[in-house]
Symmetry: C2
Subunit: 368 residues, 2 copies
């Protein structure tokens, strides 16, 4: 949807970035590369007027240079304050304003309702609101409706894969979702794409850790909580009023190792439990199956689970490679065969692209 | 993106439907089921002010009932005229107007530029513009830019699968497409999912025809031209200035049968060529492969092909079932592993949903 205003006027969107870490930084680079084209082809001026990390913030009355923001932020002596950041955008002369939360913090989402109430649109790849307390989530949805502002979070599930937008389009055009099922963790996808009979599970986890696929503490991935958060986000999008605690999660962290103090100790002791996983993998292999760590939103049954499942080798879930995610939607319209989306569901470039896609959606809804 | 105007005012969109055949009719039913919800939740009034088939048309100054439009149209004595239809919408007091071309006609797209120049948005599942003469396509894209109107055609490739929207989001956020590859015909997917060594090809085609999966003349599917049209649409979206004739298409209609007069004669003579296909299927099977009829947009190499290819049994393209489409995007961001979308890519319900999704996108861009 490209367009230029009849009078050649540009539509200006003022952007605030909270948390210029890996994703935020990548987003700013992607923006820098596209601003000229978007100005010329769409008549759209995407301008950054504020960047804040947890320590310092850069606020400006004029657009911040996308090539030198980092130096400017590093030389700041204005201490970070989300209240001042909010005030800066609340009083901006630019009518259309978007704050992008690129943090993974639980504290930043506490500001979403206020931002929306000020008519500031909110975009985030942060899973904390969507999978946090239901009341907070519902308050944001209500503020979105009431104040005519957008809240978009494509980057929270499957990074840049079109997961939430596809789901929303299904629901908005009247389809009825029966279930959403898939592999939602790139880390666990990588682990189970490399694990099988004869390969110690602890060895595969160690390799994934060494290759940088896991969190510094691999238990954060193996606990299944990241998958559970994505499941909650999808479930709520389908109208299920669910809390994170309502998801039945099968943790892959052996019970005795859950309280091990150090990561090193955990990795040292993990081989003691290899026999259990070997048994499960062998059992699956004997049946011609493969182990897959799957999240399930069963809308029809009203329940959500995250667990290690055994799938026939010719099933799409058993055919993944690398750290691919796969998401299968079974709906009234897609009842015989599900609609499936597959591809890398993690990484700064694709996650930032998911956020950027949301930003362009919001810009288009403002008439760009 | 749900919202209600601050003052509780509704945003009205006037809709014209050209060609209330199977898809158009299904779209009108889907609309009927969602209008209340969209009014309440989005403050959006989707109202149909005109419906025309090739013989008669129903034009109204007030919204047409979505439950009795068919009876009203059947009792019309106003002869169909796209000029009068255009005039009706050009002079509509409703500011936001959308004409939806649900025909497969090459004549209707001749009106798109005029509609766009009047500020009327155009949505269509009709492949004729996107795969027709390049000059006509470019004129529509130019009109879209110049007159600030939308042209959307998600339903042209993969029916309701999010193919074009995903591609557009990639391009707009700065990704670079290297190639798009896939199974774009539900009919040919069904045929090759059922064909293999020991099963006569003519037999599988006969079964597909009997089950209603093919066009009345199966040569229309087997010629590969429908796939070639989709390939051209995707290629142009990537910026390739290509004509339908530029696509190298491998037709599955044996040369001597291309001019056979009747469908019956064609089906009668097809078994004479089974040995050729059997040989190819056996050769593939011996290598552990499967035959798949694939469309390819090779952006990097600047060429498009449609051909029967042999894929390893564990390749996603060789894993399809039913009449599934699959589309794989290899891009700068998705270079190691492509982004893939898979699912039923034909059928009235899902195609109409693709059109409806476009309509909601347009409505959102108008501030709904």
């Amino acid at each position: 949807m490209e367009s230029i205003d009849h009078n050649g006027e540009k539509r200006q969107v003022a952007i605030g970035i909270v948390g210029p870490g890996l994703i935020g930084k990548t987003l700013l680079s992607q923006l820098a590369l596209q601003t000229d084209r978007l100005r010329e082809e769409w008549g759209l001026e995407l301008q950054v007027f504020g960047v804040t990390n947890s320590q310092w913030m850069l606020l400006s009355a004029t657009p911040i240079s996308l090539s030198s923001w980092q130096t400017a932020l590093e030389s700041q002596d204005t201490e970070a304050s989300l209240d001042s950041f909010t005030y800066h955008f609340a009083t901006s002369p630019v009518a259309d304003r978007v704050i992008i939360d690129c943090t993974a913090s639980a504290a930043v989402p506490c500001h979403y309702t206020k931002w929306l109430s000020l008519g500031i649109h909110v975009i985030t790849p942060n899973k904390r609101l969507g999978s946090g307390p239901l009341a907070d989530y519902l308050a944001v949805k209500e503020a979105q409706r009431h104040y005519h502002a957008h809240f978009m979070a494509e980057g929270t599930v499957g990074a840049g894969l079109p997961v939430l937008s596809t789901l929303q389009s299904m629901i908005n055009t009247g389809d009825k979702v029966a279930k959403i099922e898939g592999v939602f963790s790139g880390t666990l996808s990588f682990i189970f794409n490399n694990f099988g009979p004869g390969r110690p599970f602890s060895d595969v986890v160690g390799k994934a850790k060494a290759a940088g696929y896991t969190e510094p503490d691999p238990r954060e991935d193996l606990s299944g909580m990241d998958v559970a958060r994505k499941v909650v986000i999808l479930a709520r999008e389908c109208g299920m009023q669910i809390e994170l605690e309502d998801v039945a999660v099968e943790s892959l962290v052996p019970e005795p190792l859950q309280s091990t103090s150090s990561v090193l100790d955990f990795m040292d002791q993990l081989p003691q439990f290899d026999a259990d996983m070997e048994a499960r993998a062998s059992e699956a292999a004997e049946a011609g199956n493969k182990l897959v760590y799957v999240g399930l939103v069963d809308v029809a049954a009203g329940k959500c689970t995250v667990s290690l499942q055994s799938y026939p080798a010719d099933h799409a879930f058993a055919q993944l490679s690398g750290s691919d995610n796969i998401i299968a939607f079974t709906t009234r319209r897609y009842s015989q065969q599900p609609l499936m989306i597959r591809g890398p569901g993690a990484g700064a470039e694709v996650t930032a692209a998911g956020v950027f896609g949301d930003l362009l959606q919001v810009a288009q809804s403002l008439g760009a």
